[in-house]
Assembly symmetry: C2
Homo-oligomer: 348 residues x 2
C-alpha cells in the first residue's frame, strides 16, 4: 500500500458551552494531523478550506441543548466548530465532485476537512469571475437568506416602506439593495456611525440610523416612517421589534430572520406590543434558509448579472488567518464587524 501524505491540520474547537456573550476564549486552537486522501471506500470529500463564514445563528449552536426548539444541533465542547465556508476539493469519493472543484457549504473551522456529502450538501462553484469569498455571503447562505426572506416571505410591492435591522450585516445589506431594486423606500438600522454612512453612501439605502443613539426607538421610527412601515426584515428582536410593532401599516409583513439582540441574554426580553398584529392585520413569519435552497439556481440567475453590472455591491469584513476566527465570531455580537464577517484561511 502506498504511503498517504499526512499533514498538520489547525482547528478551532469549542471550549465549554457558552453563557452570555461569546468570547474569543470560548474557543481554542488545536492542531491534529489529517491524511489528504479520502479513506478507502468512503464517499466523502476531502477539502482545503479557503474562507469561513461567521454567522449569528452559530451562537445558538454554542448553547447547551435544553430541549427547546433550535436551528441545528449544538456544537459539542472539545469538538471542531462547523459553519459555512468555501473550499477546494483535494480528493473525492463522491462521483459528483472531483479534485480541483471549488465548493461552498458546511465545512469545519480547520485547514482541511473531510465532508460527508450524504449529510451536508455541498454546492459546486461554477462562476469564478466573482470573488470566491462571496460564496460565504452574497452567493452563499446569507445571500439565499436575503433572497428568500425578502421575495418569498415579505411579499414586497413596489413603493412600499421597508425597514431592515442589522442592516449592514451579511443579510441586511442585501435585503436593502433588493428592496431598492423594487423601488421601495428603504431605511436601515445599525450600530455605529460608520455603518450608517455605509448604508447611505455605498449601499444605496434612503435613510439609516444608529439605534444606539436613539433613546426612543418608537420616535425614531415615526421620524423615518411618518406613514408607517409595510415590511420589517427582522434580524435583532427585542426592543426594536416592540417599537416596530407600534409603527406597522395595515397588512404589513414582518419576516423574522434572526434576533441577534436576544442570543446572549439569560432570558429573552419580553415583547409587549403583539396586539398590534391584530389591529393592523400583520403577518409575522419566521423562516429558515434551509427550506429555500431549491431556489438557489434561480437566485444565481437573478443576482449574478446584478453583481457583474455593479447594481448590487457586497461589503465584507475579512479577518485573516484561522487564528483570527474566534475573535471574528465573537465580534459579531458586539457589532465589531462592518459588513459580512469572513475569515480567510487560505487564498487557494
Amino acid at each position: 500500500m502506498a504511503e498517504v501524505e499526512e499533514v498538520r491540520n489547525k482547528q478551532v474547537l469549542l471550549g465549554d458551552y457558552v453563557n452570555g456573550f461569546p468570547k474569543e476564549t470560548d474557543m481554542f486552537l488545536s492542531t491534529k494531523t489529517i491524511q489528504l486522501k479520502v479513506p478507502e471506500g468512503s464517499r466523502a470529500v476531502l477539502v482545503k478550506n479557503l474562507y469561513l463564514s461567521c454567522d449569528p445563528y452559530m451562537r445558538n449552536r454554542m448553547t447547551k441543548p435544553d430541549g427547546e426548539p433550535s436551528i441545528g444541533d449544538s456544537f459539542k465542547p472539545g469538538s471542531t466548530i462547523t459553519g459555512y465556508g468555501v473550499a477546494k476539493v483535494l480528493d473525492s469519493g463522491d462521483p459528483d465532485f472531483k479534485t480541483g472543484d471549488l465548493v461552498w457549504g458546511i465545512t469545519g473551522w480547520e485547514e482541511y476537512s473531510l465532508i460527508d456529502t450524504k449529510h451536508e450538501s455541498l454546492f459546486k462553484i461554477h462562476h469564478t469571475d466573482i470573488p470566491l469569498s462571496f460564496y460565504t455571503g452574497i452567493l452563499g447562505m446569507p445571500g439565499m437568506t436575503a433572497y428568500a426572506g425578502f421575495y418569498e416571505v415579505c411579499s414586497p410591492k413596489r413603493g412600499e416602506n421597508v425597514l431592515i435591522s442589522a442592516a449592514s450585516g451579511g443579510v441586511g445589506q442585501l435585503v436593502g439593495q433588493f428592496a431598492k431594486l423594487m423601488g421601495c423606500y428603504v431605511v436601515g438600522s445599525a450600530g455605529s456611525k460608520e455603518k450608517v454612512d455605509l448604508l447611505k453612501n455605498k449601499l444605496g439605502f434612503d435613510e439609516a440610523f444608529n439605534y444606539k443613539e436613539e433613546h426612543d426607538l418608537d420616535a425614531a421610527l415615526k421620524r423615518y416612517f411618518p406613514r408607517g412601515i409595510d415590511i420589517y426584515f427582522e434580524n435583532v428582536g427585542g426592543k426594536m421589534l416592540d417599537a416596530v410593532l407600534l409603527n406597522m401599516r395595515p397588512h404589513g409583513r414582518i419576516a423574522a430572520c434572526g434576533m441577534i439582540s436576544q442570543y446572549n441574554l439569560p432570558q429573552p426580553e419580553g415583547v409587549h406590543n403583539l396586539f398590534c398584529l391584530i389591529t393592523n392585520r400583520i403577518r409575522m413569519q419566521g423562516f429558515v434558509v434551509f427550506d429555500y435552497f431549491h431556489l438557489y439556481p434561480r437566485f444565481l440567475e437573478f443576482v449574478l448579472p446584478n453583481i457583474r453590472q455593479g447594481k448590487i455591491v457586497y461589503v465584507e469584513d475579512k479577518a485573516v488567518g484561522l487564528e483570527s476566527a474566534p475573535a471574528a465570531l465573537a465580534g459579531l455580537f458586539s457589532g465589531r464587524n462592518v459588513g459580512k464577517q469572513v475569515v480567510v484561511v487560505a487564498r487557494g
Copy 2:
C-alpha cells in the same frame, strides 16, 4: 303635519374611560325619548333592538385613545355603547330596508336605534328558522370571525393538531367544531370545569383543560400535544402564547384573533419565546373580521346546513333585559359567561 309617536328609550352609556377590568358601574342606564320614525329626508333606518352582543373587542373601545393602533374608535364618555346586535326595522329611509325586516349589524345599546346605513353595514336576516339571537353569534360577527380565522388564516389540513384558547367563547367554540369537521385533533383551553365539560361533552372537542389549574402551561401543552401544535387559534395572548410558542410544530400557524388576557392590564405582558417563530418557521398572523365580510354569503351556505343537521351547535349565555347588559359585558373579562354572551332586549 301628523304628530309623530315619541317613546321612552332606555340606553346604556359609558361613564368615564375604563382603566383595568371593566366594572358594571363603568356603564350607566339613562332614558331619553325617541321618535319611532326616520327624520324626513334621512336615509337612516330606525330599529327596535332585540338582542345585543357582548364581545371582548368592546373593551378596547372603552379605553382613552392614546394614538396607538386600535380596532374601531373609542366610545365617548356619556355616549351610548354600540356593538353588534339583532334588530327589527320599524321605519326606513333606506330603500334597501323596509318596515318589518330583521337585520343584524352595529347598533346601539338601547331599546331603539337610528342607524346610519351609510356608515354602518346592516345585514338583512333571511333565515328565521334559526334562533334570531344566533345572529349575534354563530350567524353574525363571531361566526364570521371563526370562519375567516380558521379557513382563511390558519390554512388547516386534515388531521392537524389544533389548540384554541378561550375555547368555549363565542368564537372559540366554533373554531373547534370547524376543526373537528376537518378531521383535526382539537384541544380547548378554558377557565372553569363547567366550560371544560362543555367543550368535551357538548362541543365535541377531543380534549380540554382549565388553564387556571395548570401551574405550568408548557407542561400542560406537552401533555395534550406530545407531537406539538400545528394550529393555534389565539384569543388570549400573554402567558398562554408564550407557552404555545414552545410547543408549535414546524411550519405551524398562529391566527391572532384576540388577546383578552391583556386588555385590562396597565401594560401588556412581555412575550419571551418569539425566537421559536424562526426555529419552527411559524406564521403568526393577526386578522380582523371586517376584512372578510364579503365572504358572508359563502359562510352562510356552509354553516346553515350544518346547524340544521345538528352537526354544529352553539352555546349561548343569555342575560335578560337591557339593565343586565353592563354586568354581562363586564363578566366577559372575569370569564363569568359560559358560551356566547348575549343580552336579550326584547323578544320581537
